[in-house]
């Protein structure tokens, strides 16, 4: 632990820390462009120059390891002059187009030019001009503004694992581009926009849309995947303008996936903003809330409780699910399910459906087995963590399921699930690796668990975990990777069939036979709605997607940006999403709609406010009381040891960009999807 003196203050920093980090420790602010904590050190912008005792010239503090006894001066006249000089050189070729630059107001160069630069330019020659580069539908480039910090190059190479960004040319002619201007083919590509310290890489969908100081910033939680990435929603008036990542070391660090960032334009399209009722002629017509409620009440009172069913969707907040569950409890129906994809998970034991290792725990794993999942698509930001673990430790990683490029090398064990049996018996080569590992991990994806033999796969995976000592006092290597943001909350509160109740498959089957008279779809769009031809379907949600098309009554709800709500990510971490805008038109928060219906049915639910509802929820399910933390969960036997089918394992999502009602309505996501298909078809043509 080296001790050094910075501006007369003595600090002690960790081994391997740089002088720049030591200066920050001592409270000295060091300007920088190329240095970034999560990327390798480049040392090419020279903005972080400081004086070191006995050094003949200022040193680049980001690239200098802190040494014992160093005496650093960050406030000397020479440092000031050096910074001014570097800034002047950077501005030689940087256009002064801040008024038309989207980075304006949140630009490192702008801020640091104010703080450390000269007041005026001495440069009167022509500036260099650089042509724009194509990087796909998400990233807009104005390469004349580029200062060649190479943060984007390092990000795509190191973090994203798609090294198709680079710097071509030399000296004054260096230009950042992708190989032959192909798309930046990564699920994390848009993070380079945040990393860019100037306005060279900006957001294409957000181009010329708003200025940062006009936006209301709300800290919330993402629901595009089940990670629960921490986001900041920037809204102006009634519209969400953009989504940015928020730092959370335990979950998404400071990255978010492209879907998290850009699916939000789907919030403006295909919205349900008023209740609808299907008339006798079979057409949906807008009606008042009262008429919609009356229609539901009439129908429900006539229906036997065994013929009522409710299915919760993948992006629903815990409050709405709990309200609907309470209502169905009161109605005496146990046909409720939150597992649209038919995942064979039970709600009995928390450890059996959680990502027990936790996302941060991935960093410590020393052998990883992935079954029926493509983490790059299902949880892109988490996949970057697995990649980092591989880069740091050369961790052996094996995959059972369809072959895929996960951005790190994997041993592909085939798509046949029977490999699991060899792994249990310990005969398989990878079983020995798991056995030898101190902190082995297994990741079970929905591709494996949604199969008919999902319970057996769960059981056999649990047995592998037991046999290879995956579960100890300090480590639990058994993980289920969910793709639905609402799933864990649903399982936690028991939004699954009760005694004699039917699950999603059972509900669909009964409905097809005409035995399920009334089905309440709470934002459920991923099921086959053709089975509901003879059922009365209530669709409660925010988008006119599959569920709404099949509905007899539509109750317009709020999307995740329009309500306060609790979400539980796949680790079992309860987090609070916050409202950034109001729901459009007459749409209301989902729990309030269910509460209103309950009154029309004379089964009034015992809460009048979201706070009262949450109290009720916490009383019923205590795990909701603790926010932002992962509670330890008990380990026991679960799953069934049964026959495995010989069908090949699939991955639960076939593509990344359009996976929910919001992203399917998003033009940006559609453009991304198309550009990927165009790229792959042109490859196939070759």
């Amino acid at each position: 632990m080296p001790k050094l003196t910075v501006d007369g203050i003595e600090v002690e920093v960790e081994d391997g820390a740089t002088v720049l980090q030591a200066c920050e420790e001592a409270g000295a602010e060091i300007p920088r462009f190329c240095f970034h904590e999560r990327l390798s050190i480049a040392g090419n912008c020279r903005m972080c120059l400081v004086d070191m005792e006995r050094a003949p010239k200022p040193i680049a503090s980001c690239a200098m390891p802190a040494g014992d006894g160093m005496v650093i001066d960050t406030k000397s006249e020479r440092v000031k002059k050096a910074r001014e000089g570097v800034m002047e050189f950077l501005l030689v070729n940087h256009p002064l187009d801040c008024p038309i630059c989207d980075q304006g107001g949140e630009c490192d160069l702008q801020d640091q030019a104010m703080g450390y630069g000269h007041d005026a330019s001495r440069y009167s020659e022509n500036k260099r001009a650089v042509s724009e580069k194509h990087m796909g539908p998400l990233i807009k480039t104005v390469m004349t503004r580029c200062i060649h910090c190479t943060r984007c190059v390092r990000f795509s190479t190191e973090v994203a694992g798609t090294p198709n960004l680079g710097a071509i040319g030399r000296g004054e002619n260096v230009e950042i581009t992708t190989y032959l201007e192909q798309n930046l083919a990564s699920e994390l590509s848009a993070n380079v926009i945040d990393l860019c310290p100037v306005g060279a890489l900006t957001s294409r969908p957000y181009a010329f849309v708003a200025r940062p100081w006009e936006l209301n910033k709300v800290e919330s939680i993402d629901v595009m995947d089940a990670m629960g990435s921490n986001i900041r929603i920037d809204a102006r008036g009634s519209q969400v303008m953009r989504v940015l990542p928020r730092l959370n070391e335990d979950i998404n660090e400071e990255w978010i996936s492209d879907k998290t960032r850009y699916a939000i334009d789907g919030l403006r399209r295909q919205r349900l903003d008023t209740p609808y009722l299907r008339g006798k002629d079979g057409r949906l017509r807008p009606v008042s809330w009262d008429r919609a409620f009356a229609a539901i009440a009439t129908k429900m009172k006539k229906t036997k409780s065994a013929e009522l069913a409710a299915i919760a969707g993948d992006q629903i907040d815990a409050e709405a699910m709990f309200a609907l569950k309470s209502l169905f409890d009161k109605l005496g129906s146990s046909n409720i399910d939150c597992r649209q994809d038919g995942a064979k998970l039970t709600a009995k034991l928390r450890a059996s459906y959680l990502f027990n290792t936790t996302i941060a725990g991935i960093d410590e794993a020393d052998a990883i087995l992935i079954v029926g999942s493509n983490p790059r698509i299902e949880a892109a930001v988490m996949n970057a963590r697995i990649r980092r673990n591989f880069l740091n430790n050369r961790t052996p990683i094996a995959l059972i399921g369809p072959e895929a490029d996960l951005t790190y090398p994997v041993t592909h064990l085939g798509a046949d699930i029977s490999v699991l049996k060899q792994l249990v018996s310990g005969k398989h080569k990878f079983a020995k690796i798991l056995k030898k590992a101190k902190r082995p991990m297994i990741i079970l994806g929905m591709g494996a668990l949604r199969r008919a033999d999902g319970q057996s796969i769960l059981g056999i995976a649990r047995e592998i975990a037991d046999k290879t000592d995956m579960v100890t006092d300090s480590w639990n290597g058994f993980n289920v990777l969910h793709t639905a943001a609402a799933r864990v909350a649903g399982l936690d509160m028991g939004f699954v069939p009760g005694k004699g109740g039917k699950d999603v498959a059972g509900i669909l089957k009964a409905a097809a036979k005409g035995e399920m008279k009334l089905v309440w779809l709470l934002g459920a769009d991923e099921i086959d709605t053709s089975a509901f031809a003879n059922s009365f379907v209530i669709y409660q949600g925010h988008h006119g997607d599959a569920g709404a098309a099949a509905a007899d009554v539509i109750l317009p709800g709020a999307a995740y940006t329009e309500k306060d709500g609790l979400y539980v990510n796949f680790e079992g971490r309860v987090q609070m999403g916050r409202r950034a805008t109001f729901p459009p038109g007459e749409a209301k928060e989902d729990w309030a709609i269910i509460r209103a219906v309950s009154e029309h049915l004379n089964k009034t639910l015992p809460f009048d406010s979201a706070a009262a509802l949450r109290d009720e929820l916490i009383t019923a399910v205590p795990s909701f009381a603790v926010l932002d933390e992962v509670l330890p969960s008990k380990w026991a036997k679960f799953g069934r040891i049964g026959k495995l089918s010989d069908e090949p394992v699939t991955s639960s999502l076939s593509q990344f960009h359009m996976t929910c009602a919001i992203s399917r309505s998003s033009e940006t996501m559609a453009a991304c999807h198309q550009s990927i298909q165009a790229a792959s078809s042109s490859l196939a043509a070759e």
């Binding site: 650089v130 090294p163 198709n164 680079g166 071509i168 040319g169 030399r170 230009e175 581009t177």
Partner: protein
């Protein structure tokens, strides 16, 4: 200088190494420890360039990347960094004029002027006949016999306007004269003959 101006407009559909190139590649990769084969990237690019009329098409960049298990962008970065690599077709005679201080002081401008007069091309251009390409480069490392004109792999030293004109005339009819100093300097002695170590008996002179 976007990528479209950096590389050739007409790219060949395919590229594959010849058997001679393959042998050389094997030799080059063997110089580096296992797993560090990417160190051979410049050698392989040069082999590809030699095989392909002194320029590197993108298919060759991709072939090198595949051979060395490198991201193709990393190979393009290297190929675009060095002036030694041509990403566009060049003429049969690829002329490189050194313009760095010693050559400049000894009359490099005359060489450039002669080439401009005779071939009507500037740095980075190819003559109308397609036979000659010119690039002004930084130090070629032969300052002792400055100024230098490099033709393909060979140095012509002590050049002036007339010597350049004569050389270009010869090259125009595909006749490549002996390379080396055009004023007959053997080592790097003074232009007016050796001035020191005169007492030392001359034993053998370097054969041309």
């Amino acid at each position: 200088m976007s990528i479209s101006t950096l590389i050739a407009e007409n790219q060949p559909e395919t590229f594959s190494f010849t058997s001679e190139s393959e042998a050389e590649i094997k030799q080059q990769i063997a110089k580096y420890p296992a797993g560090r084969q990417a160190s051979a990237v410049k050698s392989l690019l040069y082999i590809a360039q030699k095989q392909n009329d002194n320029w590197i098409p993108m298919r060759a960049v991709e072939a090198v990347a595949e051979r060395l298990e490198m991201p193709v962008m990393r190979v393009l970065e290297v190929a675009s960094f060095y002036s030694m690599f041509n990403l566009k077709p060049v003429g049969k005679w690829y002329l490189q004029v050194c313009g760095t201080t010693p050559c400049m002081l000894r009359g490099a401008d005359d060489i450039s002027r002669c080439i401009k007069d005779k071939l009507k091309i500037a740095s980075g251009e190819t003559s109308a006949c397609g036979k000659f390409s010119l690039l002004e480069v930084e130090c070629l490392g032969a300052c002792v016999n400055a100024p230098i004109l490099q033709v393909n792999d060979d140095f012509y030293e002590d050049m002036d306007y007339q010597a350049t004109a004569r050389l270009l005339d010869e090259l125009a009819v595909d006749n490549k004269p002996e390379f080396g100093s055009v004023i007959g300097r053997q080592g790097s002695e003074s232009e007016d003959g050796a001035t020191t170590l005169k007492a030392v008996k001359k034993t053998a002179s370097r054969s041309k």
